[in-house]
Subunit: 265 residues, 2 copies
């Protein structure tokens, strides 16, 4: 058994707040403020090297089809999400994507597309998973999750809204592809996107009734195939799940946004 | 600018040494001992959240075609490699691979294959990259690297030799695929493998003169296609580079071994 003493406090200490963190709106922003002003991030966080290794293995697609964060890693993952490292990791990926996007020579025929996943790529479900004191240890529950979705209160993921605005300036066509249900969730999703600051898109593709039985990998590939068949070039493709980034027509470059809270097949 | 104070010391503190770390042989083992007994890991390591984010982005294939570790991250990466986190990360992936391998229902016709990359998957080149005080900041130099390869002194990567032995017990057929040169490096590579403890394999595939111009992704796909054409089922495929794991015939499951020191196209 390997034990680490106090690693998380130091991972969370930052001399200045990141300006772009302000894009990470309520309610996570409030949770972060509460967290930063509490003694909690100063406490000893019992974790292990293995939880750090577990998170890396999740992010590199070495662990698949997992259901919940291991019990012994829930506190560690909570600190990761509430602390500065998760926003830093997201903003870093957004920065890399922008560096790449700037170098793309767009054809300019209106078919230069950038694909963005919604859940935990453009919009954050972190507030749903947050449980006081147990840090996103909540199990996924479909009924409760749909209740959360119907509120339309998901904040933007750190860095991604800023990237989205820069992609629009570069004249990429934004194609949102989401596994959310077309019939029941389109309206609230559009409301949520606009409310957070995503005002324009070329396409917003949701899952229709004929696609209910597809795995997320199959579903995403199917939707991208439709986009390509419609003449678009997918220059960039961003998602928090590997099922967003693997499969057919993945795009010229893929960008994995970090997400250690859940796995979607 | 975000600054972290003293994060690395805590990432390196472990109450007990891992028994399996002993498989990480000389010369890295000696470097580690020297490192642990010095004050060095106690010093303030100036690093940034961005270096942690950089490493995650490397491991998730978000940064491609990079040449060298960014200057400001060389110390951080050095601590990562010399400390306990890199061995922990490698051993964790090996453990995941074994968990998966145990559940595979082998056909048992002698065609149940497991593909392993060599460089920094089965055999570690970390000693080549080590430079006193600057921690693996050395730029890759082909002539010097071949000199290192011709020594045949690469130790095993933590956890992988142990996994290899367990895969043999499960009766997988080990297929090593490496970009090393067939003509000049086969003999010393076989010597190195056996010297470290890899005594048996079904195939050891090296790059021949007709394959010199292929990218690593193309080369690895070509070799795997030959393996599959020979009737093998690739149940597992492990490598430290995404070019080992993407492309055609990736295998039923892939396992990304961590490696933040270099990128191979």
């Amino acid at each position: 058994m390997k034990l680490l003493v106090l690693p998380l406090f130091f991972l969370l200490v930052s001399t200045t707040a990141s300006a772009s963190r302000s894009s990470f709106l309520n309610p996570i922003h409030l949770l972060r403020q509460e967290y930063s002003s509490s003694e909690d991030h100063n406490n000893v966080a019992n974790t292990t090297l293995d939880c750090v290794s577990w998170r890396l293995a999740v992010e590199t697609n070495n662990i698949r089809n997992w259901e919940v964060i291991p019990d012994e890693c829930q506190t560690y993952i909570g600190h990761y999400m509430l602390g500065h490292q998760y926003p830093s990791d997201c903003e870093y990926v957004a920065g890399l994507a922008y560096d790449y996007a700037k170098g793309v020579e767009l054809v300019g025929d209106g078919k230069d597309a950038w694909v963005l996943d919604l859940d935990d790529t453009a919009l954050s479900n972190a507030p749903y998973y947050y449980v006081d004191n147990s840090y996103w240890a909540k199990d996924y529950n479909k009924t409760e999750f749909v209740e959360w979705e119907l509120k339309g209160e998901a904040p933007a993921v750190p860095g991604i809204l800023d990237l989205y605005n820069k992609l629009l300036e570069l004249e990429f066509k934004i194609v949102f592809i989401t596994g959310k249900d077309e019939t029941t969730l389109r309206n609230i999703t559009e409301y949520n996107l606009k409310n957070v600051g995503y005002h324009n898109w070329e396409k917003l593709l949701l899952r229709d009734s004929t696609e209910a039985s597809l795995t997320k990998l199959e579903y995403k590939s199917k939707k991208r195939a439709l986009v390509v068949a419609d003449g678009y070039r997918i220059w960039g493709n961003m998602g928090d799940q590997w099922s967003d980034l693997l499969g057919e027509n993945p795009g010229n470059r893929t960008f994995k946004v970090p997400m250690p809270m859940f796995y979607l097949k």
